[in-house]
């Protein structure tokens, strides 16, 4: 049984080896006619799939010439190509020589093909006159190799630009589609969603096993499809390009470019393209990958310009513009908002669960002090803030925080820190913040999930920082602040300033992200940074120092 299995395996192996060897030994079918030492291939204009294409009057086309050695001997090839006088070669390479006779251009060149299947090819740019009538023109070629001559005559079908445009039409542009050009109704029509290249996205891809390569740079963010109808009886080789343009300036948008664009010529870096052959009397769906990266392509409304050219020709058959919207899914504000929500819900959930224990730590007198400080804060910060902030915002715009922060942040932190010095308990700041929030809601009607999140985040972060930096627990900082003389409190005052500054800077950043996510507002990164550093950190730290002085003075008014 075992021997039979070994023999079967051996025979299968031998069969495959024989098959592979046969494929290597038996020669491939030559495009040349039997007996020709070299195979000659000429396409005017150059077309996909090697079939004869259509040329357009007044355009520049590429003539493709290829010769291939079909023998085991060295072949010295001389070529002569005769073009009608309306087909003028331009930018010829140095290997060609051109002479002009009465009604044609004669191009000659020579090459040596040393071994079998060695080939030589070239693309010759040819400018066709614009005043030439449509019809069929003939290009003649003579190829001599080792004394044997081949003569070819090639018909070039010429159409006017209007005729060609009538033949080939874009019937529809679909976006986004799958890679086969099929519309996925799950996605918004004419909308491109940019993928984030942030580090969170990197880790998400690692976790989901999607690989760590740059998604945006190497993989399409979406696909589009161009439906092209060809009314002509013959197939049309086309070059389809798509560009994302600024709708006002009509200039290409940066970041919308194929991978490895740096290897392409400058004109081709800002567009995606596909070379296709559309069979005659048919309609073909041509899918195109779209590349783009968040951070490079701005979001907004753009024009997606799709251009159809005949392959090997600069003649534009049709240009179709489609208004598209580019949306970015920036996850940072969403993640921060959700995290802030979880933090708030968790904190208040725990406090509610241990409500009695939480409030039992506060004497009735302390609760009233916090309430009255809440009133004082509301009167000195919230009410003027409501009026002055809006007024200042209207005059100074987003930079009003430089002025209002002097009052808002400094006075607020003077009050909060003095309160903490009077009642150095965990929960004091949170209760004071809840007071401010409720007063603002009851008196000014500022009840909304956003304001609740603003106040709560600020209160929780400050509470955490005060505990970490040793102000609301037994530590050298709290001892210095309560017992040391005025000259000795500065190190402790600096520590508490740092703690409050960091807490307020963090809450300012979180508040920006909440506003960006929930109210869809835009802020420049440098602006957020400036605000966080000056209003969040600096003003708060200054207010905290004054708060320490105020708190120590108030301690003289008896409270226990």
């Amino acid at each position: 049984m075992k021997t039979k299995r070994v023999w079967t395996g051996l025979l299968t192996f031998l069969f495959f080896i024989s098959f592979i060897l046969a494929g290597l030994i038996i020669p491939a079918e030559s495009p040349a006619q039997a007996g020709d030492p070299v195979a000659v291939k000429i396409q005017i204009p150059f077309s996909k799939g090697g079939k004869q294409g259509l040329a357009i009057a007044g355009s520049e086309i590429s003539a493709y010439i290829m010769v291939e050695n079909q023998t085991d001997e060295e072949q010295n090839v001389d070529m002569e190509i005769s073009l009608p006088k309306e087909f003028k070669p331009v930018d010829l390479s140095s290997s060609w020589k051109m002479t002009q006779t009465g009604d044609s251009y004669i191009l000659t060149t020579a090459c040596t093909l040393a071994v079998k299947y060695e080939n030589w090819f070239d693309l010759i740019p040819v400018r066709i006159s614009s005043d030439i009538p449509a019809g069929e023109y003939r290009v003649a070629a003579k190829v001599k190799s080792n004394g044997k001559e081949q003569k070819l005559e090639l018909p070039v079908k010429l159409a006017t630009r209007r005729e060609a445009a009538d033949f080939v039409k874009i019937s529809e542009i679909l976006l986004p589609t799958d890679e086969y050009g099929k519309v996925d109704p799950r996605y918004q029509r004419n909308t491109l969603a940019l993928k984030s290249s942030s580090s969170s996205n990197y880790y998400k891809r690692v976790i989901t096993g999607a690989g760590t390569e740059s998604t945006a740079a190497e993989h399409p963010i979406a696909h589009m499809a161009v439906k092209v109808a060809n009314k002509n009886a013959e197939a049309a080789s086309l070059l389809i390009t798509a560009q994302l343009l600024n709708p006002e300036t009509k200039k290409p948008v940066a970041g919308f470019r194929p991978p490895n664009a740096e290897n392409l010529s400058k004109d081709e870096q800002d567009r995606i393209y596909a070379m296709v052959k559309v069979p005659g009397k048919s309609e073909t769906l041509i899918p195109l990958p779209i590349y783009g990266e968040e951070g490079t392509i701005p979001t907004g409304k753009f024009t997606l310009r799709t251009t159809v050219k005949l392959l090997g020709s600069d003649a534009v058959l049709q240009v179709k513009d489609l208004p598209v919207q580019v949306v970015a899914r920036d996850f940072l504000p969403a993640v921060i908002t959700v995290s802030a929500f979880v933090l708030i819900a968790g904190t208040f959930g725990i406090i509610n669960f241990r409500k009695q224990a939480f409030f039992d730590r506060f004497k009735t007198r302390w609760l009233i002090v916090i309430a009255l400080f809440g009133t004082a804060t509301f009167v000195t910060v919230n009410i003027p803030g409501t009026i002055l902030w809006d007024l200042s915002h209207a005059i100074f715009g987003p930079f009003s925080f430089l002025i209002t922060g002097l009052f808002n942040e400094i006075i607020l932190y003077m009050l909060l820190v003095s309160l903490v010095l009077l009642i150095p308990q965990p929960g004091t700041v949170l209760l004071a913040t809840v007071m401010r929030m409720l007063l603002s809601g009851v008196i000014l009607g500022h009840f909304s999930p956003v304001t609740i999140m603003f106040y709560s985040t600020s209160g929780i972060l400050l509470e955490v920082m005060l505990f970490i930096f040793g102000i609301t627990r037994s530590s050298w900082v709290s001892r210095k602040l309560s017992q040391a003389g005025r000259a000795d409190i500065w190190p402790a005052a600096l520590v508490i300033s740092l703690g409050c500054g960091l807490a307020d800077a963090a809450s300012a950043f979180v508040n920006f992200q909440i506003t960006i996510f929930l109210y869809r507002l835009y802020y420049a990164d440098w602006y957020i940074l400036t605000y966080v550093l000056i209003d969040g950190f600096l003003y708060t730290a200054i207010g905290t120092v004054f708060g320490v002085l105020l708190g120590r003075q108030l301690k003289k008014v008896a409270i226990d």
Binding site: P185, Y187, P247, T249, V253, P298, T299, G300, K301, F302, R329, N352, F359, T364, I368, V369, I370, A371, L372, T375, A376, F378, V379, T380, I383, T386, D390, L391, H393, A394, G397, P398, S400, L406, M414, L415, L431, M435, L438, L439, V442, I443, L444, G445, F447, S448, P449, L518, Y519, L521, Y522, Y523, A524, W526, I542, F546, L550, Q553, A558, I559
Partner: protein, 299 residues
């Protein structure tokens, strides 16, 4: 009456808005705040603002209150338009003028230039409708509801008793503290305190310190008396079984508004969530195409 006093003092009237239960008003305010987050369409945001403004007008508020409201709304709208005109990052955008040229040394390089964009004004105006609706409804709530009713409403929403007591205390002492602030500021002005004319901000902060000190010292002294008074009347003795002298009761009108508002809010949020799932490619069913269209064109 000063602007601040007018802002915090509720009005008494017999309009539909005044007669609504405080809990219903709080619910409507919260529902609207959720709605403004979920709405994106300028038409819907404008419609909401028009509706809220109509409600404010129907409350027959004093002309001075309406003037304050109008000024605050205009300032908020303009402020948002201003900031968005500077930071608008979508395309197309047309530069109206340059504030900081990108080629300016240091500041130009740091900021990458600061421009005023035409499209940012429009975008800011649309987004400001959210703030305008919330501001109008918030002030309408506070001007048509007695604070004690709002506090009873909050207790109904399970706000801890101690916090409710603190809020009542804070609200009760609000006029007193405002008067104290005014007195102290008058005294400071007599001593040459001109906050808006001073350019020395350290001096300004020091003066603020001296202003706050007597106000807070009074708060501390008052707290002692109040604490004794509250504890002698059984405060915190049995917080779980407290009874209230005055309660809130829903009328048929309140129930109607509450149910109508809930159905409307849940409907809008559900349609928007379904649309967002579709928009982000998470879930799609052809059965809901009509809803997708509704959300795209209106929400």
């Amino acid at each position: 009456m000063s602007i601040a006093q007018r802002m915090i003092r509720p009005t008494v009237n017999a309009t539909f808005i005044h007669q609504l239960d405080a809990r219903v008003k709080i619910f409507l305010l919260l529902a609207t705040s959720v709605l403004v987050i979920f709405l994106d369409n300028p038409k819907s945001l404008l419609l909401l603002f028009v509706f809220v403004s109509a409600a404010a007008l129907s409350a027959r508020l004093p002309a001075k209150n309406l003037k304050i409201l109008a000024v605050l709304v205009l300032l908020a709208v303009w402020g948002t338009m201003f900031s968005q005109a500077l930071f608008y990052s979508k395309l197309p955008r047309t530069v109206l003028f340059v504030i900081i040229h990108p080629k300016w040394p240091v500041i130009g390089e740091l900021t990458g230039g600061l421009f005023v964009y035409k499209q940012g004004f429009t975008y800011g105006a649309v987004q400001a409708l959210r703030f305008a609706s919330m501001l109008t409804l918030g002030l309408l709530l506070s001007w048509t509801t007695q604070p004690r009713d709002l506090l009873l409403g909050l207790i109904h929403f399970k706000v801890p008793y101690e916090v409710s007591f603190m809020t009542v205390t804070a609200v009760r002492f609000l006029p007193l503290v405002m008067n104290e602030v005014r007195t102290v500021l008058t005294v400071q002005r007599l001593r040459g305190y001109r906050p808006l004319k001073s350019s020395n901000w350290i001096k300004l902060i020091r003066t603020s310190l001296y202003t706050l000190k007597p106000i807070l010292a009074n708060c501390l002294r008052r707290a002692g008396t109040l604490a004794v008074s509250a504890e002698s009347r059984g405060f915190r003795v049995n917080p779980e079984e407290r009874t209230y002298w005055r309660g809130l009761e829903y009328s048929y009108m309140d129930r109607g508004v509450l149910w109508g508002g809930t159905v409307f809010l849940v409907g809008i949020v559900a349609v928007k969530v379904v649309y967002l799932l579709y928009f982000n490619g998470v879930y799609y069913t052809p059965f809901l195409r009509e809803l997708y269209g509704l959300a795209k064109n209106w929400l």
